[in-house]
């Protein structure tokens, strides 16, 4: 496969016809070399131990076509729509240029990465590929190696964008592969909410490999919602890198409802003092679905706060993996870090592997974590039923109660309603 990809990489680079000495070209080459050297995660790879993705990918997908995009997904309805939002459509990894009609908005700029290299060459050079470490994760490497476009968003400093930006990712590939890429710059004192909605059409397998780099400036506020609602033949790997400057705030919401195999690597780097990072996660998985959330928050400087709440409901033969790493460096005194992962297994065949990973090098730190895995509470179930509530309604009520403290954190009402309804459909 690597040989095939080497050939592809050459063809790809030539097809871009770009200046071979450009900064981006060097990044691609470095990334491809990293990928060629390491390949996909090996069976014993500690980071992917519970998610044996390589075998599944090599068995299911033909990498000879990478990364040539297939035609746009025409006529597919987005997962949800709200006229209030700013919409961008990304089909099989390709940004639909005609959906980028937002240039008239003065406080926010949305364009393809390719356009951005012309319009904002300094910014792109300073940030693109700077956070997405190609040595650490092979999927990040593969993504960077074949990157040439993607979504670029720049929020002008000291402005608050009231309308959420809604990025619709659709795939409808025929055992195909797509890669997508974001670079989001939230300048000093700016505020924005960005929703990524990942969905798949048709009924054949698809692998989407997504990378986002998000730079949150001093005193800025970023809300990142990620809705993963693909179908049961979808493989999806997400690598998100968030870098926060001083006094900034970032909230991420990783909401996973459907997919065959999903791996999320969420990385926070708290680069300066007084940052606040909140990670909320919710996964409701069924059948043979497999959802793996790896989060990593790197406390580099003092007085930052990180807070993580992930909750999961696993049904049928679903598998879940949670790995939450909190890294507190020596300089990061007065760090306050909290982490919690709670799971409900609805069957004997569902399973979860949950592991906190704390590495603390500073001494004045307040850190707590906890994880629980269990069934529904029999006493609560009986109480509700004894009042005349059917077993299925009672189960749904308790599951709703379980997920509610994460759901209630979703501040965008149309998104909250959509997810609430989707979850109700699943639980009732």
């Amino acid at each position: 496969m690597i040989d095939q990809l080497k050939h592809n990489f050459k063809t790809f680079e030539t097809s871009l016809n770009g200046a071979t000495k450009s900064n981006w070209h060097e990044l691609r080459t470095e990334a491809f070399e990293a990928f060629a050297k390491n390949g996909f995660p090996k069976p014993k790879d500690e980071e992917y131990r519970y998610t044996q993705i390589a075998r599944a990918l090599e068995k299911t997908f033909d990498f000879s076509a990478t990364p040539v995009a297939i035609d746009a997904v025409h006529g597919n309805k987005p997962l949800f729509y709200d006229s209030d939002a700013i919409h961008v459509f990304i089909d099989n990894g390709v940004v639909q240029k005609d959906s980028l009609t937002h240039t008239e908005l003065d406080a926010i700029e949305i364009m393809t990465l390719e356009e951005a290299t012309n319009k904002y060459p300094e910014e792109v050079k300073a940030h693109f590929g700077k956070y997405a470490n190609v040595q650490k994760d092979p999927f990040t490497a593969l993504n960077t190696a074949f990157s040439y476009e993607g979504v670029f968003i720049k929020v002008t400093k000291n402005t608050k964008i009231e309308r959420p930006v809604l990025l619709h990712y659709s795939t409808d590939g025929n055992n195909s592969i797509s890669q997508s890429r974001n670079l989001i710059l939230v300048e000093q004192g700016a505020e924005v909410s960005i929703i990524e909605s990942h969905t798949s059409h048709g009924d054949s397998a698809h692998f989407s490999n997504h990378v986002s780099e998000i730079v949150v400036g001093a005193n800025a506020n970023f809300n990142g919602y990620k809705l993963q609602h693909q179908h049961d033949k979808s493989y999806h790997v997400d690598n998100t890198f968030i870098s926060q400057d001083r006094d900034s705030k970032a909230q991420t919401y990783t909401l996973t409802l459907e997919g065959k195999l999903i791996r999320n690597n969420l990385n926070f780097a708290l680069e300066d003092e007084n940052c606040e990072a909140h990670m909320f996660g919710l996964y409701v998985v069924r059948d043979n679905g497999h959802v793996d959330n790896h989060t990593n928050v790197d406390h580099k400087m003092p007085k930052c706060y990180s807070n993580e709440i992930y909750k999961g409901i696993l049904d049928d033969k679903a598998k879940g993996v949670f790995n939450g790493k909190i890294f507190v460096r020596q300089d990061a005194q007065k760090t306050n870090a909290f982490q919690s992962n709670k799971n409900i297994l609805l069957t004997d065949t569902a399973s979860i592997n949950t592991k906190p990973q704390l590495e603390i090098w500073a001494d004045d730190v307040s850190c707590s974590h906890g994880c629980t895995t269990g069934q529904l509470d029999e006493e609560q179930l009986f109480y509700l039923r004894s009042r005349g509530v059917s077993k299925s309604s009672a189960t749904a009520m308790l599951l709703h109660a379980f997920v509610n403290d994460v759901l209630d954190k979703i501040n965008i009402s149309f998104l909250h309603n959509f997810i609430n309804e989707e979850i109700s459909k699943r639980l009732d």
Binding site: E378, F382, Y383, L384, V389, K391
Partner: protein, 253 residues
């Protein structure tokens, strides 16, 4: 209304109920008293359909129907209500939503139209006044952070809303101060009618000063060992249970 014949039940292989016989007719109030651990709550749970308990012998008919094979929710739909000794807290489930679902699923079972939001609210207001419960409690998650007394009052409130045929109140009086006890007793008395019946599980005479029982039974070691009228409760208050235990133990040996 309720007929229990030779009821035996066990949990984790341990026999708790050892042949209970009890007849309850419409319009009656029965008190079940007895020392701790004698099986009163077990009896209540078995009647309500708790699956952890296994009925090994005997039968229970309620309004002419064998209920032992019914799911707990269907027993409730038939008109059975259990006010729990220890009501469980359910964070995240709103009292309102829960009660509305309970009520409407019961109505559906009976072939009635569901109550709409407006009429449901009206009913809630009316019943809240009846049992003197604060709206603030109802607005919270079910029993979450309630004091012992508030939980008991909430049980009676739910009973008022659901209007069961047979209510089993398992030590609803314990942990209540005099005022709360009076309010709960008032609520029960107001809900009493010739068509429904009440079983009060209690340790104390003081509840029976407010709700006067037609029959008093003593449950000891999984059996009803003595039955009488309200004077039996007074006698128990006076003399305790030891004389009954001795009587029973003497008959056995």
């Amino acid at each position: 209304m309720l007929s229990i014949k030779n009821l035996h039940a066990e949990i984790e292989g341990q026999q708790i109920l050892k042949g209970i016989n009890l007849e309850v007719k419409a319009g009656e109030v029965h008190a079940i008293m007895g020392p701790n651990g004698s099986g009163k709550s077990t009896l209540a749970s078995v009647l309500a359909g708790r699956e952890e308990y296994e009925v090994t012998e005997g039968e229970v008919t309620f309004l002419g129907k064998d209920i032992l094979d019914l799911a707990p929710e269907d027993r409730a739909h038939e008109g059975l209500f259990l006010a729990f000794q220890y009501p469980v807290e359910i964070p995240g489930v709103s009292s309102n939503n829960f009660l509305r679902t309970a009520l409407n699923q019961t109505r559906e079972y009976k072939g009635l139209e569901p109550l709409d939001a407006v009429n449901f609210l009206k009913l809630m207001k009316e019943k809240m006044a009846l049992v003197e419960i604060d709206q603030k409690l109802i607005n919270r998650s079910l029993n979450e952070g309630f004091s012992g007394g508030e939980k008991k009052r909430n049980e009676i409130f739910q009973m008022a809303v659901l209007e069961p045929k047979l209510s089993i109140l398992d030590e609803t009086d314990s942990g209540l101060d005099i005022d709360a006890l009076r309010i709960v007793a008032n609520g029960v008395n107001k809900l009493k009618s010739p068509d429904n019946a009440t079983i009060l599980v209690t340790h104390y005479q003081r509840l029976l000063d407010h709700i006067v029982p037609d029959f008093v039974h003593v449950l000891y070691n999984g059996q009803i060992v003595k039955s009488g009228d309200k004077s039996l409760a007074l006698e128990l208050e006076d003399k305790g249970y030891d004389w009954i235990k001795e009587e029973v133990d003497a008959t056995i040996s």
